[in-house]
Symmetry: C2
DNA sequence: TTTGTTATTGCAACAAGGTTGCGTTATATT
DNA sequence: AATATAACGCAACCTTGTTGCAATAACAAA
Protein backbone atom coordinates (compact mmCIF):
# COMPACT_ATOMS: atom_id res chain seq x y z
CA UNK A 1 0.00 0.00 0.00
CA UNK A 2 2.99 2.26 0.50
CA UNK A 3 3.22 5.47 2.43
CA UNK A 4 -0.02 7.39 2.84
CA UNK A 5 0.68 9.56 5.87
CA UNK A 6 3.63 11.86 6.37
CA UNK A 7 4.65 10.92 9.88
CA UNK A 8 7.69 11.92 11.88
CA UNK A 9 9.34 8.56 11.26
CA UNK A 10 8.86 8.82 7.49
CA UNK A 11 10.23 12.34 7.47
CA UNK A 12 13.31 11.48 9.53
CA UNK A 13 14.08 8.33 7.54
CA UNK A 14 13.69 10.06 4.20
CA UNK A 15 16.05 12.72 5.43
CA UNK A 16 18.71 10.10 6.13
CA UNK A 17 18.71 9.17 2.47
CA UNK A 18 18.27 12.69 1.12
CA UNK A 19 21.80 13.69 2.10
CA UNK A 20 23.89 11.43 -0.07
CA UNK A 21 23.68 8.47 -2.41
CA UNK A 22 25.17 6.12 0.12
CA UNK A 23 23.39 2.93 1.11
CA UNK A 24 22.51 2.38 4.76
CA UNK A 25 21.72 -0.90 6.48
CA UNK A 26 18.52 -1.31 8.47
CA UNK A 27 20.67 -2.18 11.47
CA UNK A 28 22.61 1.07 11.19
CA UNK A 29 19.40 3.06 11.07
CA UNK A 30 18.11 1.26 14.13
CA UNK A 31 21.38 1.92 15.97
CA UNK A 32 21.12 5.57 15.02
CA UNK A 33 17.40 6.18 15.45
CA UNK A 34 16.39 3.37 17.79
CA UNK A 35 16.04 5.81 20.68
CA UNK A 36 13.48 7.86 18.80
CA UNK A 37 11.59 5.14 16.95
CA UNK A 38 10.90 1.50 17.58
CA UNK A 39 12.69 -0.92 15.30
CA UNK A 40 9.34 -2.28 14.12
CA UNK A 41 8.47 1.19 12.91
CA UNK A 42 11.79 1.59 11.14
CA UNK A 43 11.47 -1.77 9.38
CA UNK A 44 7.90 -0.92 8.44
CA UNK A 45 8.68 2.49 6.98
CA UNK A 46 11.61 1.08 5.00
CA UNK A 47 9.33 -1.63 3.59
CA UNK A 48 6.78 0.91 2.49
CA UNK A 49 9.33 3.24 0.97
CA UNK A 50 10.57 0.28 -1.02
CA UNK A 51 7.04 -0.50 -2.18
CA UNK A 52 6.72 3.08 -3.32
CA UNK A 53 10.00 2.74 -5.23
CA UNK A 54 11.58 5.50 -3.20
CA UNK A 55 14.18 3.12 -1.84
CA UNK A 56 15.50 -0.22 -3.01
CA UNK A 57 17.11 -2.89 -0.89
CA UNK A 58 19.78 -5.51 -1.36
CA UNK A 59 21.71 -7.93 0.83
CA UNK A 60 25.25 -6.98 1.74
CA UNK A 61 27.93 -9.61 2.07
CA UNK A 62 27.52 -9.21 5.82
CA UNK A 63 24.01 -10.65 5.51
CA UNK A 64 22.42 -7.35 6.45
CA UNK A 65 19.69 -5.67 4.49
CA UNK A 66 20.89 -2.43 2.94
CA UNK A 67 18.75 0.37 1.55
CA UNK A 68 19.47 3.18 -0.88
CA UNK A 69 17.58 5.80 -2.84
CA UNK A 70 16.13 4.81 -6.18
CA UNK A 71 17.02 6.98 -9.10
CA UNK A 72 14.81 5.97 -11.98
CA UNK A 73 12.40 3.48 -10.54
CA UNK A 74 8.64 3.49 -10.85
CA UNK A 75 6.33 1.46 -8.65
CA UNK A 76 5.50 -0.73 -11.65
CA UNK A 77 9.06 -1.36 -12.73
CA UNK A 78 11.07 -1.42 -9.59
CA UNK A 79 14.12 -3.56 -9.93
CA UNK A 80 17.44 -3.67 -8.25
CA UNK A 81 19.30 -3.00 -11.45
CA UNK A 82 22.53 -1.37 -10.47
CA UNK A 83 25.63 -2.72 -8.77
CA UNK A 84 26.90 -1.61 -5.39
CA UNK A 85 30.36 -0.95 -4.07
CA UNK A 86 31.34 -1.69 -0.49
CA UNK A 87 34.54 -0.26 0.93
CA UNK A 88 36.44 -2.79 3.01
CA UNK A 89 38.22 -0.04 4.94
CA UNK A 90 35.50 2.38 5.99
CA UNK A 91 32.50 0.14 5.38
CA UNK A 92 30.66 2.66 3.22
CA UNK A 93 28.38 1.21 0.58
CA UNK A 94 27.35 3.21 -2.44
CA UNK A 95 25.37 2.78 -5.60
CA UNK A 96 27.18 2.59 -8.91
CA UNK A 97 25.56 4.18 -11.92
CA UNK A 98 27.54 2.10 -14.40
CA UNK A 99 25.88 -0.62 -16.46
CA UNK A 100 26.95 -4.23 -16.22
CA UNK A 101 27.67 -6.69 -19.03
CA UNK A 102 26.21 -9.93 -17.81
CA UNK A 103 27.65 -13.12 -19.25
CA UNK A 104 25.58 -14.87 -21.90
CA UNK A 105 23.89 -17.95 -20.45
CA UNK A 106 22.45 -20.20 -23.14
CA UNK A 107 19.40 -22.21 -22.08
CA UNK A 108 18.80 -20.05 -19.07
CA UNK A 109 16.57 -17.04 -18.61
CA UNK A 110 18.08 -14.16 -16.69
CA UNK A 111 15.60 -12.15 -14.67
CA UNK A 112 17.58 -10.33 -11.99
CA UNK A 113 21.12 -9.92 -10.88
CA UNK A 114 22.92 -8.65 -7.87
CA UNK A 115 26.49 -7.44 -8.13
CA UNK A 116 28.45 -6.34 -5.10
CA UNK A 117 31.99 -5.16 -5.68
CA UNK A 118 34.30 -4.82 -2.72
CA UNK A 119 37.55 -2.97 -2.33
CA UNK A 120 38.75 0.51 -1.38
CA UNK A 121 36.65 3.59 -2.07
CA UNK A 122 37.93 6.94 -3.38
CA UNK A 123 38.59 8.20 0.12
CA UNK A 124 40.36 5.12 1.43
CA UNK A 125 42.42 4.16 -1.62
CA UNK A 126 44.83 7.05 -1.10
CA UNK A 127 45.57 6.35 2.54
CA UNK B 1 43.66 -24.79 11.04
CA UNK B 2 41.46 -26.70 8.63
CA UNK B 3 40.64 -30.38 8.62
CA UNK B 4 43.19 -32.61 10.29
CA UNK B 5 41.19 -35.74 11.07
CA UNK B 6 39.04 -37.67 8.67
CA UNK B 7 35.87 -38.11 10.67
CA UNK B 8 32.47 -39.42 9.68
CA UNK B 9 31.02 -35.93 9.44
CA UNK B 10 33.79 -34.76 7.13
CA UNK B 11 33.37 -37.80 4.94
CA UNK B 12 29.60 -37.46 4.64
CA UNK B 13 29.72 -33.72 3.97
CA UNK B 14 32.42 -34.05 1.35
CA UNK B 15 30.31 -36.68 -0.32
CA UNK B 16 27.40 -34.25 -0.59
CA UNK B 17 29.54 -31.98 -2.72
CA UNK B 18 31.30 -34.70 -4.67
CA UNK B 19 28.16 -35.57 -6.61
CA UNK B 20 27.51 -32.42 -8.56
CA UNK B 21 28.67 -28.84 -8.92
CA UNK B 22 25.56 -27.47 -7.31
CA UNK B 23 25.77 -25.18 -4.33
CA UNK B 24 24.05 -26.19 -1.10
CA UNK B 25 23.01 -23.97 1.77
CA UNK B 26 24.11 -24.75 5.31
CA UNK B 27 20.45 -24.85 6.28
CA UNK B 28 19.69 -27.48 3.65
CA UNK B 29 22.55 -29.65 4.87
CA UNK B 30 21.28 -29.36 8.42
CA UNK B 31 17.76 -30.28 7.30
CA UNK B 32 19.19 -33.28 5.48
CA UNK B 33 21.84 -34.44 7.93
CA UNK B 34 20.64 -32.92 11.18
CA UNK B 35 19.51 -36.29 12.42
CA UNK B 36 22.97 -37.73 12.06
CA UNK B 37 25.10 -34.77 13.05
CA UNK B 38 24.60 -31.78 15.26
CA UNK B 39 24.27 -28.45 13.49
CA UNK B 40 27.32 -27.16 15.37
CA UNK B 41 29.33 -29.95 13.81
CA UNK B 42 28.02 -29.21 10.35
CA UNK B 43 28.80 -25.52 10.63
CA UNK B 44 32.24 -26.36 11.97
CA UNK B 45 33.15 -28.80 9.21
CA UNK B 46 31.94 -26.38 6.54
CA UNK B 47 34.08 -23.64 8.05
CA UNK B 48 37.14 -25.81 8.01
CA UNK B 49 36.56 -27.07 4.49
CA UNK B 50 36.37 -23.45 3.45
CA UNK B 51 39.65 -22.70 5.23
CA UNK B 52 41.21 -25.57 3.34
CA UNK B 53 39.89 -24.14 0.06
CA UNK B 54 37.87 -27.28 -0.59
CA UNK B 55 34.64 -25.29 -0.48
CA UNK B 56 33.82 -21.64 -0.87
CA UNK B 57 30.82 -19.83 0.50
CA UNK B 58 28.65 -16.94 -0.56
CA UNK B 59 25.41 -15.34 0.58
CA UNK B 60 22.29 -16.12 -1.43
CA UNK B 61 19.65 -13.46 -1.89
CA UNK B 62 17.64 -15.38 0.68
CA UNK B 63 20.25 -14.37 3.25
CA UNK B 64 21.40 -17.96 3.68
CA UNK B 65 25.00 -19.07 3.49
CA UNK B 66 25.62 -21.30 0.49
CA UNK B 67 28.59 -23.56 -0.11
CA UNK B 68 30.04 -25.09 -3.25
CA UNK B 69 33.13 -26.95 -4.32
CA UNK B 70 36.19 -24.92 -5.26
CA UNK B 71 37.71 -25.67 -8.61
CA UNK B 72 41.05 -23.92 -8.77
CA UNK B 73 41.55 -22.49 -5.34
CA UNK B 74 44.59 -22.86 -3.12
CA UNK B 75 44.62 -22.11 0.59
CA UNK B 76 46.79 -19.07 -0.10
CA UNK B 77 44.70 -17.66 -2.91
CA UNK B 78 41.17 -18.57 -2.05
CA UNK B 79 38.75 -16.14 -3.52
CA UNK B 80 35.15 -16.25 -4.40
CA UNK B 81 35.85 -15.45 -8.03
CA UNK B 82 33.01 -16.91 -10.01
CA UNK B 83 29.37 -15.90 -10.31
CA UNK B 84 26.44 -18.02 -9.22
CA UNK B 85 23.06 -18.65 -10.74
CA UNK B 86 19.97 -19.19 -8.63
CA UNK B 87 16.83 -20.61 -10.21
CA UNK B 88 13.72 -18.81 -9.03
CA UNK B 89 11.54 -21.82 -9.87
CA UNK B 90 13.32 -24.81 -8.36
CA UNK B 91 15.68 -22.95 -6.05
CA UNK B 92 18.81 -24.68 -7.33
CA UNK B 93 22.00 -22.67 -7.15
CA UNK B 94 24.97 -23.49 -9.30
CA UNK B 95 28.40 -22.15 -10.03
CA UNK B 96 29.05 -20.49 -13.37
CA UNK B 97 32.41 -21.02 -15.01
CA UNK B 98 32.12 -17.92 -17.16
CA UNK B 99 34.28 -14.89 -16.52
CA UNK B 100 32.80 -11.51 -15.69
CA UNK B 101 33.66 -8.11 -17.11
CA UNK B 102 33.57 -5.81 -14.15
CA UNK B 103 32.91 -2.14 -14.84
CA UNK B 104 35.93 0.16 -14.67
CA UNK B 105 35.91 2.17 -11.48
CA UNK B 106 38.40 5.05 -11.56
CA UNK B 107 39.79 6.05 -8.16
CA UNK B 108 38.65 2.84 -6.55
CA UNK B 109 40.48 -0.40 -5.98
CA UNK B 110 38.50 -3.56 -6.71
CA UNK B 111 39.43 -6.50 -4.53
CA UNK B 112 36.48 -8.89 -4.63
CA UNK B 113 33.12 -9.16 -6.23
CA UNK B 114 30.01 -11.20 -5.77
CA UNK B 115 27.63 -11.70 -8.66
CA UNK B 116 24.39 -13.58 -8.22
CA UNK B 117 22.20 -13.97 -11.29
CA UNK B 118 18.64 -15.08 -10.84
CA UNK B 119 16.16 -16.48 -13.32
CA UNK B 120 15.15 -19.85 -14.73
CA UNK B 121 17.63 -22.70 -15.02
CA UNK B 122 17.97 -25.10 -17.99
CA UNK B 123 15.46 -27.48 -16.48
CA UNK B 124 12.83 -24.92 -15.54
CA UNK B 125 13.02 -22.61 -18.56
CA UNK B 126 11.28 -25.12 -20.80
CA UNK B 127 8.33 -25.77 -18.55
C1' DT C 1 -12.33 23.14 15.41
C1' DT C 2 -14.07 19.09 16.56
C1' DT C 3 -14.94 14.43 15.25
C1' DG C 4 -14.26 9.98 13.22
C1' DT C 5 -11.70 6.76 10.52
C1' DT C 6 -7.87 4.07 10.11
C1' DA C 7 -2.87 4.19 9.02
C1' DT C 8 0.89 4.08 11.88
C1' DT C 9 3.35 3.34 16.10
C1' DG C 10 5.31 0.81 20.08
C1' DC C 11 5.57 -3.08 22.86
C1' DA C 12 6.43 -7.77 23.81
C1' DA C 13 6.99 -12.02 22.28
C1' DC C 14 8.63 -14.77 18.75
C1' DA C 15 11.34 -16.91 14.57
C1' DA C 16 15.35 -18.53 12.24
C1' DG C 17 20.08 -18.81 11.09
C1' DG C 18 24.06 -18.99 13.17
C1' DT C 19 27.60 -18.83 17.31
C1' DT C 20 29.76 -19.94 21.88
C1' DG C 21 31.41 -22.56 25.94
C1' DC C 22 32.35 -26.68 27.67
C1' DG C 23 32.34 -31.49 28.97
C1' DT C 24 32.62 -35.91 26.32
C1' DT C 25 34.14 -38.80 22.50
C1' DA C 26 37.18 -40.65 19.23
C1' DT C 27 41.16 -40.09 15.84
C1' DA C 28 45.70 -40.93 15.18
C1' DT C 29 50.40 -40.77 16.97
C1' DT C 30 53.72 -42.96 20.14
C1' DA D 1 47.60 -49.93 24.83
C1' DA D 2 48.27 -45.26 26.41
C1' DT D 3 47.94 -40.58 25.41
C1' DA D 4 47.18 -35.98 23.50
C1' DT D 5 44.01 -33.27 21.50
C1' DA D 6 40.91 -32.50 17.42
C1' DA D 7 36.30 -32.96 16.75
C1' DC D 8 31.63 -33.74 18.48
C1' DG D 9 27.12 -32.84 20.84
C1' DC D 10 24.44 -30.34 23.84
C1' DA D 11 22.35 -26.34 25.73
C1' DA D 12 22.20 -21.83 26.02
C1' DC D 13 22.78 -17.72 23.68
C1' DC D 14 23.09 -13.79 19.97
C1' DT D 15 21.46 -11.21 16.06
C1' DT D 16 18.57 -9.61 12.53
C1' DG D 17 14.23 -9.42 11.40
C1' DT D 18 8.90 -10.57 11.97
C1' DT D 19 4.13 -10.84 14.05
C1' DG D 20 -0.12 -9.68 16.73
C1' DC D 21 -2.38 -6.36 18.95
C1' DA D 22 -3.69 -2.37 21.67
C1' DA D 23 -2.73 2.64 21.82
C1' DT D 24 -1.82 6.74 19.19
C1' DA D 25 -1.98 10.27 15.81
C1' DA D 26 -2.67 11.86 10.66
C1' DC D 27 -5.89 13.71 7.99
C1' DA D 28 -10.42 14.29 5.81
C1' DA D 29 -15.03 15.54 6.58
C1' DA D 30 -18.50 17.85 9.17
Amino acid sequence: MGIVRKTKAVEVLLNEFKMNSVAISAKLLIDKLGGRFNKTTIYGVLDKLEEDAVLHSFLGKDGLKWYAKCNNCSTAEHKDVHPHFQCLSCGKVDCLTVSVDLPKLPNRKIEFFQLLIQGKCEDCVVL
